[in-house]
Symmetry: C2
């Protein structure tokens, strides 16, 4: 699935983590790496340059690459093993504030800096053209609940490029991914039902469960492989779980990518326990390598509901998402109709044209490169933090998950940070268990301009007292 | 509230209804009307010309005005008196199709005819400007759940012109009125609760009650005065009703305007029985006379939730509405946040500018005149139908309610009409009781061009077999 240089990069990172090469030591030479790993010189150079960009190694002229950062710092956050009994969800009032501010993924509240990127300029022009194309009394008619056929057609083509076949008539347009998750849960659960989620996982789902009066079972999830399927299996044996919400592609908060084997086990369990699987696919388009297949592509029994939107990959202000509702498709159309009638047609037609003329693909290429660079800068700067920290190294998505020493209380630091004009996203937001107080999510969604670098520099002081 | 000529027109209509002047007889002369009614000659001529345009009277040179249509035809539909016990709502599958097609209020499916009206041209320009005003990474931030402050400010000013004080911070922007009704019901009811509604009343509410698993009590409502408050009072004495959904201004389907006295009684009952009142105010801006006060203006105990949108008065494709949530405001903000995060900010800013520069007010003035003319043409053409029919004469809104002889089955006529390319809105859609089979709603939302006049001409054949 990955390119050769990515495989080599991962192998080298693993070696650094395992202290195969220690601080100050020299890495094997480029020629040695070519021979032992069976790759070209260009591939080795590419991988080493990427490690150098992250501040992990340093090239010294005519001497080779040397380890410049303590490898302990790049260990992945630990997995929490405990599964607790299902419980109703009660979300702290403070969390509403955190959730609202953190949804922007920015360390600074409402900075609104920088230039309008070319993708957004093109999108806005396409929306303007769609407005001017309106004819007669078009504005007098509601769109069909499933959404505009042209947009569904484009989404179907977009899925096909990724190797997933979905017909336009299997899709329903929504007001974003959160709305899609809401429709999915409304369609397959009733009050009191038990839903399994990743832990740590997406806070928006926890809040939805609270409002729909559903019970939650939190399944431990690592920031490398996602949901622990063994733990899910154990939970399924103990409780009557109705649905499971997962993000196989770059899960919040750590950016985990669920391996193929885990995906197959998950679907087998779903068949065995008649489980609805709600797949949050919102980060898939932000893949630094190849876009991973959706779990839904393996769905043989029509029980995976895929939810996604343009909010993370393109614009949070469009408020357009989609849902492939599987066996619940008709029910979902009905729910969309009665809860908000329709989506805006001109908006859908604008984005459909933006996709059709290749502007979306071009935007994604630029976006992925920019985000990878931003991730690398973030990770490099985290290496300079004092003491022992663990951080995930996501291959897509918008954020890393940071584990700090047990004594750190990220929730207590939230109001203090806010007073200094910095928004942090404390670990406890990603669970209802009260766990993860010494963790936080940090996003690289925005460019590291001076103000954000300053804000990032304030974090060790705010969190670690340094 | 009305102009003098409107008052005279109503008085003359009443006389025709009461057969003070019979078919073929001469009306009092213009001079007599001036003297007895105390109005000018121009006023009398204006009123008579309007009656003539409706086909009710005919001017004969040098002889005066003669009655040309049987007055029995313009009697108002009858009130149904029976209140049935609360029940869960089950909506027929066919109704989903009817609801979707009828939401456009058009006799013809997807005609999309005519010119883009100047109000929509101005709106689209304002939206285009809002897109071009986007700065930096504005697109990376979600709007606040309550919605854009500029739009809430404009809505507050719009309400103030109508004599209703609402602060911007008491409003929450939604994806249309249906979404507002959904949030309102989610905020004040739990599964199994009983909700009182108008009967006949808005089908969208019935479908919401079904999806939220709420029970319904249908309260008889007339197409002149709206909900029968006496019947509501009796129902409140028998059952534990949690909420009541009403449309005091131009209720669907007949366009009733609830009188002041009934409004006060309703609010007193609400206090007495601790009832949440959900006010559907969507048609208020389409008033042919003065815009009526909202029920909420009389709300002293913070229990009226007002829901509205731009869909009926401006554009069904904007998908923007608003809700004044009273004591449930915080809960509603929370529900908006977890079910769809936010609304599109540029859209809100575009419409805010459209309101601020007076374009919305200008649009409403044109719209009201056009709709009144379209109503008059519809009513006039209904007079030519054979047999005994009753029809409402709304002073606002988009539709009349038609009562045909008991033998007529509008639901059976629906598929036959559809085959001929005509969309009718059968009476049973407006209730879960199975009543109103001999009724239907006909809209005057669209201009009576040749194709719609042809479709209208097909209705007597489809419904009455003539």
């Amino acid at each position: 699935m990955d390119y050769r240089y990515q495989q080599l990069e991962s192998w080298l990172l693993q070696g650094l983590r395992e202290q195969r090469w220690r601080l100050g030591e020299r890495l094997p030479s480029i020629r040695t790496l070519c021979q032992t790993q069976g790759v070209s010189k260009a591939t080795v150079q590419h991988a080493l340059q990427r490690l150098e960009a992250q501040g992990l190694v340093e090239a010294r002229p005519k001497a080779g690459y040397f380890v410049t950062l303590q490898p302990k710092m790049i260990r992945a956050p630990r997995n929490r093993a405990q599964v607790e009994a299902p419980r109703p969800v009660t979300v702290n009032e403070l969390f509403l504030d955190v959730m609202r501010r953190s949804a922007a993924f920015d360390l600074l509240p409402d900075l609104h800096a920088g230039e309008v990127p070319p993708g957004i300029v093109a999108l806005n022009r396409a929306l303007g053209r769609a407005l001017r194309r309106q004819k007669g009394d078009d504005h007098q008619y509601y769109d069909a609940p499933a959404g505009d056929p042209a947009l569904r057609e484009q989404l179907s083509l977009h899925a096909a490029r990724r190797g997933w076949t979905v017909l336009p008539e299997q899709l329903c347009i929504t007001s974003g991914c959160q709305h899609a998750l809401f429709l999915a849960l409304m369609a397959c659960c009733r009050r009191g039902d038990i839903v399994a989620v990743e832990s740590p996982g997406f806070y928006g789902v926890l809040q939805l469960l609270e409002q729909l009066e559903l019970q939650v079972v939190e399944v431990p999830s690592s920031s490398e492989q996602g949901m622990d399927i063994g733990a899910l299996e154990a939970a399924l044996g103990r409780w009557d779980i109705k649905a499971c919400v997962v993000s196989p592609a770059f899960a919040t908060p750590g950016g985990a990518l669920m391996p193929e084997g885990a995906r197959k086990r998950l679907l087998a369990l779903a068949d065995q326990h008649d489980l609805a699987i709600i797949e949050d696919d919102i980060y898939a388009d932000i893949a630094f390598g190849q876009v991973p297949d959706p779990l839904k592509a393996l769905d043989r029994s029509d029980r995976v509901i895929l939810c996604s939107s343009f909010s993370k990959s393109l614009s949070r202000d469009l408020r357009l998402g989609w849902i492939a509702g599987a066996r619940w498709h008709q029910k979902i159309l009905h729910l969309k109709l009665v809860t908000q009638l329709a989506s805006s047609r001109y908006q859908q037609q604008g984005i459909a044209e933006f996709m059709q003329d290749g502007s979306y693909a071009a935007h994604l290429r630029r976006q992925r490169n920019a985000l990878r660079t931003q991730r690398d800068r973030l990770v490099a700067s985290l290496h300079a933090w004092p003491g022992e920290i663990r951080v995930s190294t996501p291959q897509g998505g918008l954020a890393v998950w940071l584990e700090l020493p047990e004594s750190v209380d990220s929730l207590a630091a939230y109001p203090a940070a806010l007073q200094q004009g910095v928004v942090i996203t404390p670990g406890p937001l990603f669970s209802v268990s009260g766990q993860f107080r010494n963790c936080l999510r940090i996003s690289y969604a925005h460019p590291w301009d001076d103000r954000r670098i300053t804000a990032l520099g304030q974090l060790p002081g705010l969190l670690l007292g340094h």
